[in-house]
């Protein structure tokens, strides 16, 4: 019963949290002038006419950073229960954690060696 109430709080919070900043924005919409014209709503490019397509090509380097982040993020999710119970476990837990972290850190060093982490 209590756990459900806790998450009910979070659930209501998820609904209210975007609503609270939306109120000043709506208030701004009420008070502000609203006179759009072609020049005002044109895309900003330092004052000149836009050149080329807007949706530029996605650099591959970002994808590599995203991949490595994904590996480490999933590692974090697995490390949290390990860290939580760590004080009640014995040396074997350290060995297990060491092996797990080492396997994933190996991936980082491999990417580093292959120069995948370079630039940008």
């Amino acid at each position: 019963m209590n756990v459900l109430n806790e998450w009910a709080f979070i659930g209501v919070f998820f609904l209210i949290a975007p609503l609270l900043p939306a109120l000043p924005i709506i208030l701004g919409g009420v008070f502000a002038p609203h006179k759009p014209n072609a020049i005002k709503t044109a895309t900003y490019e330092c004052g000149v006419e836009t050149v080329g397509d807007t949706w530029v090509q996605f650099k591959v380097q970002y994808y590599i950073y995203g991949l490595i982040f994904l590996v480490f993020d999933v590692e974090m999710v697995f490390l949290f229960p390990w860290a939580l119970a760590y004080k009640q476990l014995d040396f074997f837990a350290f060995g297990a954690g060491l092996l797990f972290i080492f396997l994933l850190t190996d991936a980082l060093f491999y990417a580093w060696g292959k120069n995948a982490l370079a630039w940008e």
């Binding site: 919070f13 609270l20 900043p21 924005i25 970002y62 974090m76």
Partner: protein
């Protein structure tokens, strides 16, 4: 949560249906908890500007109200009157949703913040993990803003911001692992209560530094503020935002920096712990805000003092220094905790200061070791780079001399 349950009971006794009473009291609790950081932000705008001004040897706002304290209100009034210009071709729903989501990401963290021993939104058992998870919604909001603006500079800016934000989440999460390990609990209230004996900043200073640097980068503050650098990429992903939407991005950022200060206080410097907190729990809020203000001030100080890093320097710094350091930190502290347990130095009563001292000293030495290893490695790399530079210059000079 206690106050909410009591309010629900009170409404129930008045004759309201139990479920509805619970819902209404939860709703009121949520509004109260969510409004607190918004009110603090109004003050923060003034603090930020005054502090930056003083460091830059000028006065800052001092006309509107005593010492310029009403300046944020003047700012809000001005921004309310600005026209909301939506660029042509912008993806309207996503464009409009990005600023509230950005602020929501920060507000959601306050749901689990332990303000006093008895007053908090809700003490989730997975508090630390929740905090890290929810802060990532901000990253999503940035991408939404960049993509929906129909502006290639906003898009490029958004790509870079997102790359920076996701990269610096790794050392952030690793740094949070240490308080979780030391406290044996993920709930923020549990982590604060475990610091009765010794604040974690003394047992794990490297984690505190890692958390501080990563959170500085997560909010896009100098030296990691390439993204909001007004002189480059023309204000980045929020080019096409004006009026209150832009104000929400700004307010969200200030709130985020302060929230990070509060998280530093909770994770590392004992949250609401202080003298006489058992007798007068309200003092806990004052202690927490005081400690958070100190960390916030340090963050502002760093922001106004250091030059900006380039994006490739930023990414290198993260993936080649911070992540290995955070991993080494986790492993060393884990090892030392086991050694301490085997040797028998674990404090039997975690709330006793004297009993915590041996463990703290051992962990501190471990941290010093980690810091020494990483810094000497960086130094040797620096020496190599400098030697390579010198060699290049020598060969260039000899080529020149021979060429003459």
């Amino acid at each position: 949560m206690d106050c909410i349950n009591q309010l629900a009971q009170c409404l129930n006794q008045g004759g309201m249906d139990a479920g509805l009473a619970q819902f209404i009291s939860i709703f009121l609790g949520v509004v109260l908890v969510a409004t607190f950081p918004l009110l603090v932000t109004i003050l923060l705008i003034w603090v930020e500007r005054k502090f930056a001004a003083r460091i830059q040897d000028r006065i800052g706002p001092n006309r509107v109200g005593p010492f310029g304290l009403l300046q944020p209100i003047a700012d809000v009034v001005k921004l309310l009157g600005k026209e909301n210009i939506t660029p042509t071709g912008a993806d309207k729903p996503i464009y409009n949703l990005a600023p509230p989501f950005m602020v929501a990401a920060v507000l959601l963290v306050w749901a689990v913040m332990p303000l006093t021993p008895y007053h908090f939104g809700v003490d989730l058992e997975i508090g630390a993990l929740y905090v890290i998870t929810v802060a990532s919604i901000g990253t999503l909001a940035v991408m939404m803003a960049g993509w929906a603006s129909n502006n290639k500079y906003a898009l490029l800016g958004a790509f870079r911001v997102v790359a920076q934000l996701i990269s610096y989440e790794v050392p952030l999460a690793m740094a949070v692992l240490i308080p979780v390990m030391l406290a044996g609990s993920m709930s923020l209230q549990g982590i604060v209560k475990a610091q009765y004996g010794m604040w974690f900043v003394f047992a794990a200073p490297i984690s505190a530094i890692l958390f501080f640097i990563s959170s500085q980068a997560e909010t896009g503050r100098a030296p990691f503020d390439l993204l909001e650098a007004e002189s480059e990429l023309v204000a980045g992903f929020n080019i096409e935002y004006s009026g209150m939407k832009f104000a929400m991005f700004f307010a969200g950022e200030f709130m985020h920096v302060f929230t990070n200060g509060v998280l530093m206080a909770v994770f590392f410097t004992g949250g609401w712990i202080g003298p006489f907190v058992e007798q007068l729990p309200w003092l806990g809020l004052i202690y927490l805000l005081g400690k958070a203000s100190i960390w916030y001030t340090i963050s502002l100080w760093v922001r106004n003092s250091v030059p900006r890093l380039r994006i490739d320097q930023m990414m290198d710094f993260n993936w080649k220094f911070l992540v290995p350091m955070s991993i080494l930190n986790v492993l060393v502290i884990a090892f030392l905790l086991q050694v301490i347990k085997q040797v028998g130095l674990t404090p039997i009563d975690p709330g006793n200061f004297i009993q915590n001292l041996p463990q703290t000293v051992v962990l501190l030495l471990g941290n010093v070791f980690v810091g020494y290893v990483m810094l000497s490695w960086v130094r040797s790399k620096g020496r190599q780079a400098r030697a390579a530079d010198e060699a290049k210059k020598m060969t260039a000079a000899t080529v020149h001399a021979v060429g003459d």
